[in-house]
Point group: C2
Chain length 205, copies 2
């Protein structure tokens, strides 16, 4: 059996074409023909690898969350060898902010899928809906550790604070996306909030 090309790779290429075209025309406006053209292949090929549009969109979503995960990992890695809890938390939250073109597209499409998930039960059942839950768990964990190390302000509820931070980060992301706020001001808002969660630990006595 001639298996001249790697299926998985091809699917990824097409998914990236989908992400690209959805990135500037909007997810609602992408058609199979657009994806095929963007990927430089024939319509038939797209059909061949993804029998139906729904499957294509689903795979595109998976691809998206994958890229998001990579981004997050890279950020945490870049936060330093033994990053303090606060740096870790910042890395986590900043990743969700659309600061450059790639993250803009990520956030935009992620939100598009979320909106569709409200009325589409197949999408609603997709794991990306509960991905934030694991993010929340991870963040809660970090905060609890920080609390044990007496790094937090007194009276902070780790669980509620984690949820609040994540929600704020998502909300700020949307604000940036629609051009209502600059990435810098969003960062300032986030930092201000973190100042009220973490103890001020700067070198100055």
């Amino acid at each position: 059996m001639p298996k001249r090309v790697d299926h998985a790779e091809r699917r990824t290429e097409i998914a990236e074409a989908l992400v690209r075209v959805a990135g500037h025309r909007g997810l609602h406006a992408v058609g199979m023909r657009d994806v095929a053209a963007e990927a430089g292949v024939s319509l038939r090929l797209v059909q061949y690898y993804f029998e139906t549009k729904e499957k294509l969109l689903l795979f595109g979503l998976e691809h998206l969350t994958g890229k998001f995960g990579e981004r997050l990992a890279a950020r945490i890695r870049a936060a330093g060898d033994g990053p303090g809890p606060r740096a870790m938390v910042e890395a986590l939250l900043m990743t969700a902010l659309p600061t450059d073109e790639e993250s803009r597209v990520l956030h935009h499409l992620y939100t598009s899928y979320a909106v569709l998930a409200v009325t589409d039960r197949t999408l609603a059942a997709q794991p990306f809906i509960k991905d934030p839950d694991v993010a929340e768990a991870a963040l809660t964990d970090i905060l609890l550790q920080a609390q044990d190390a007496d790094l937090l302000q007194p009276g902070v509820d780790a669980r509620l604070t984690a949820a609040g931070l994540l929600a704020m980060s998502a909300g700020l992301g949307t604000s940036i996306l629609v051009g209502q706020r600059s990435p810098e001001s969003a960062t300032a808002v986030l930092d201000d909030h973190l100042d009220r969660v973490f103890r001020t630990v700067d070198a100055a006595s």
Copy 2:
């Protein structure tokens, strides 16, 4: 000239039909025919009052922001005659949370429009994009007043805090919408955060 019906009223009826159908099938899935059927009128009528679909959608958006404003006003009014700053802030933020069916639809469609606005310059130019800005200004104002009355925790930056609260509220709203979080837990998160902004002023010494 026979002007048997009130144009504005008819347009409102149709817009509400649009909101209803978009509410459960999703904004992307509504067609002129659906709107006409839901409103109990002919397709031609919808065309008559809104020459084009784009204009219908635009008017639907205006209608939506109008309803949202009413809701907000009602909430503030219901907050009491001389509501304390905290009650006022809570009323403001809770309004943005999709707690019942109507607010669910409001939030859902508002987000849908926001996503469309990312790639549609006509929508991006619409005032609803900057409406949150006036909300932020109003909230900042309330916080500043509260600060003057020494009702806030020390070190709170009113502007940044207002922005953060609004973003958090929006983010929590989306979480509720996609079924990731219950309205109750969202309220708990918000309240927890408010506890860290406002001085604890309960009767107990």
